[in-house]
């Protein structure tokens, strides 16, 4: 159909030329790069800046735990300094904590003195170790940096390790052994196993699944509403009538949906290409910024089945929702009305996205299975499940077929509403009138 092509061409070229498209296409990857690299970078910087070595330790345990904690804090600090983070070196302040051994009955006085020191900025904070530390594994810390998660974790590690050491000592283990025992640190790496064997890290594929689900949701909403706006524009500017004297409304609708969908695919292509580049050169980039561990972010291998079904789910999901959005656009007469009338359609989408978290925790449960088969949530939930777990092929196919049928139904109904609505002005139709439109169109 030559005319379908003309409509598609207009939709595509006008959208691709718009500032909105150019900005979002270029800044999308920048934004994604920022949210993947920056947190790692910031936390590295944060760790480096953590200055927890120069705190006051009020030791009322009478078992020398204060010194143990100080030693460990110092060791941690020195480890941290060796990390090649950032270009400039952070000036290291005093590296040794001040350990004050106090009598339990004088602890209150020591604490108030320390508080004053912290208030006058002479000290960063103080750690209280007393009988409760020994008996009920409780210690207290007060200081300016009490809200820093990383710094508190360092202190907690140091105290736990010191506590363990003193326990071991009371069990009769020689001091030399204790040191090596408590300093050892075990890294646990997670690996996912499915029917095909081991592959990828569990965490990474969960993040991947979430990103995919969210991306699909964003794209469907973004481009679905784009279709709505386009239809509404044609209706309110009355250009629809001129166009409909040349092409059938069904072709206009199809051209719009295909054209806008092609714009969406173009954008995704740019995004995926830049994501792939980021993955390929990400490690080098990270290293350049001083983060040797960034190579830990690896794209999980995407199987051909997952790849193909991702594209299919996007296309079908987009078609389903944009057909509904187009019907909404043809029904209403203004942007404000559109907001309201689009609510039910939006609810369907939102219902899918709020279920993402529970489904990620239990990707094979009843909720997950049901929602991945229902046409309105399938485009988001099924790709999520597929990246989180091994979904039986029959379910994937079933979900696709169901979605395709729903697509056909949505297009059929929408084309009818569109045909009548585009030339209608005035009041928004009631549900009863809508049914009439669909029946008589």
């Amino acid at each position: 159909m030559a005319k379908l092509w003309v409509v598609i061409k207009r939709e595509y070229t006008e959208k691709v030329r718009s500032k909105w498209f150019i900005i979002s296409t270029i800044f999308g990857p920048v934004f994604f790069a920022a949210i993947t690299i920056l947190p790692g970078y910031m936390s590295m910087r944060g760790m480096k800046n953590a200055q927890i070595a120069d705190i006051r330790i009020l030791d009322a345990t009478g078992a020398g735990m204060g010194q143990r904690v100080a030693d460990r804090l110092k060791a941690q600090h020195e480890n941290m300094q060796r990390l090649p983070v950032g270009r400039g070196t952070v000036p290291s302040v005093s590296t040794a904590s001040t350990v004050l051994t106090v009598e339990p009955e004088k602890l209150a006085a020591a604490e108030s003195l320390s508080t004053k020191l912290v208030m006058s900025k002479e000290s960063q904070g103080y750690l209280v170790l007393d009988s409760a530390t020994i008996n009920s594994k409780k210690a207290r810390y007060a200081g300016r940096n009490a809200s820093s998660i990383q710094e508190m974790e360092l202190i907690q590690n140091a105290v736990s390790s010191a506590f363990l050491a003193s326990r071991l000592e009371s069990a009769g283990i020689p001091a030399a052994r204790i040191d090596s025992l408590t300093r050892s640190r075990v890294d646990v790496s997670a690996e996912r196993i499915d029917e095909k064997g081991r592959g990828g890290s569990g965490l990474v594929s969960a993040i991947f699944g979430f990103v995919i689900a969210f991306l699909l949701y964003m794209m469907i909403i973004l481009y679905g509403q784009n279709v709505l706006r386009g239809v509404l524009e044609e209706k309110t500017t009355r250009v629809a009538e001129v166009v409909m004297s040349s092409v059938k409304p069904d072709i206009l609708l199809a051209g719009k949906v295909i054209g806008v969908g092609a714009v969406g695919l173009t954008q995704q292509l740019v995004w995926f290409a830049s994501a792939a580049t980021l993955m390929a050169y990400g490690a080098q980039m990270a290293k350049a910024m001083g983060m040797p561990n960034m190579s830990a972010i690896v794209f999980p291998s995407v199987s051909p089945l997952l790849g193909v079904s991702l594209v299919l789910f996007f296309l079908l999901g987009y078609t389903f929702y944009s057909a509904l959005f187009a019907a909404v656009g043809a029904m209403v007469g203004s942007q404000e009305e559109a907001q309201q009338a689009a609510q039910p359609v939006m609810m369907l989408l939102v219902a899918s996205i709020i279920m993402v978290q529970p489904i990620m925790f239990n990707p094979s449960g009843t909720l997950a299975t049901t929602m991945s088969l229902l046409p309105f949530s399938a485009p988001i939930i099924m790709p999520l499940r597929m990246s989180a777990t091994q979904v039986p092929t029959s379910e994937v196919v079933g979900s696709l077929v169901g979605l395709a049928i729903a697509c056909w139904a949505a297009i059929w109904v929408s084309a009818r509403i569109y045909r009548v609505g585009l030339l209608m002005t005035g009041k928004r139709p009631s549900l009863k009138e809508l049914v009439k439109w669909v029946r008589y169109a």
Binding site: A2, K3, V6, V7, R10, E14, S18, E233, E234, T236, T237, R238, V239, E241, V242, V243, M244, S245, S246, V247, L423, K436
Partner: protein, 320 residues
């Protein structure tokens, strides 16, 4: 009989209980300028949309240039200017026009050539400024009307349909439109336009059809319609003695209807009444008669007479 550009046979269209068009038949010869006249809500736009195959009639057939209007490619030979006009606001003028032409099956290259000549002709493209490169929303209303107009005619259609083309036009654009209609006729194109402005119709149209409430009231050539309704109309212009004059004119023994335009009256006499009797009465009443002429009724008069009648009794068809 010449070949027909448009042949409508017994079309009807209902929206629920409301019947917008009732068994309407029309025949428009090729090369004619045809007026579709009627008050607002008469069914003109519905009829035009059915001709353009935007909506389908419940009954009846429509042929354009000897073929069914639903045939593939038929709409490429028709140019349409809707009553409610609009263009893509954010689009460049040239791109909009090229899009509209391509929708009519024109190649982009041919469209570009046509756009240039039309833009120059309607002074949208001058050596100083080419409005074709601007966005539609940057143009004034008058200029947008011109662009829309170009969009209707760019593909050189055989049949041009204009729905209320004069509404909202400034005098300059209205004149340009009239000139163009005359030019189209000279080149053998058929023009159909709907209007409720009888003056324009009377001056431009070869033939007219008056419809009211979805029904055809009358149709025929302008000359023919006037002749059938003529003979007993007086164009009158008087000075002085307004009170007594209006008493004479309201005598229903003599006068059927008066269209009072303040200084000018169009008087329809009762059947069989003698115009000389009216003249005598006026002079006796002290009127200084400046003009007294037996004329054919204007379309306006005929329209009022006919549509007024169907207004009272819906469904009453035209004369004869």
């Amino acid at each position: 009989m010449t070949e027909l550009a448009l042949d409508i046979r017994g079309i009807s269209k209902s929206y629920g209980d409301y019947q917008a068009v009732k068994a309407l038949s029309l025949a428009v010869p090729k090369g004619a300028v045809y007026g579709l006249l009627g008050p607002n809500g008469a069914g003109k736009t519905t009829t035009i949309r059915m001709i353009l195959n935007i909506i389908a009639p419940d009954e009846g057939t429509i042929s354009l240039l000897g073929r069914a209007n639903t045939d593939v490619g038929m709409m490429d030979r028709v140019g349409y200017l809707p009553e409610e006009r609009g263009l893509y606001k954010k689009m460049q003028v040239r791109r909009v026009l090229r899009f509209l032409a391509e929708l009519k099956g024109m190649s982009a290259k041919d469209a570009d050539r046509g756009i240039d000549s039309w833009m120059e002709r309607l002074s949208l493209k001058t050596p100083e400024k080419d409005w074709g490169l601007a966005k539609v929303e940057e143009l004034s209303r008058g200029m947008q009307q011109k662009v829309q107009f170009i969009g209707t005619l760019l593909h050189d259609p055989d049949l041009v349909i204009l729905d209320e083309p004069f509404s909202g036009l400034d005098p300059i654009n209205a004149q340009a439109l009239k000139d163009t209609v005359v030019d189209l006729k000279k080149r053998g194109r058929t023009v159909i336009f709907s209007t409720h402005l009888m003056d324009n119709a009377e001056r431009l149209c070869d033939s007219v059809c008056i419809i009211a409430r979805g029904d055809k009231v009358l149709d025929g050539t302008v000359a023919g319609v006037k002749a059938e309704h003529g003979g007993n109309n007086v164009a009158l212009s008087v000075a002085g003695g307004s009170e007594t004059i209006s008493r004479v004119l309201s005598d229903h023994q003599l006068v059927e209807r008066v269209d009072d335009s303040n200084r000018f009256f169009e008087v329809a006499l009762q059947k069989g009444a003698d115009p000389q009797a009216l003249l005598r009465r006026l002079v006796e009443a002290g009127a200084v008669v400046q003009r007294f002429e037996l004329v054919q009724p204007s379309l306006h008069q005929i329209f009022l007479e006919k549509v007024g009648a169907t207004g009272v009794e819906a469904g009453m068809s035209g004369h004869g």
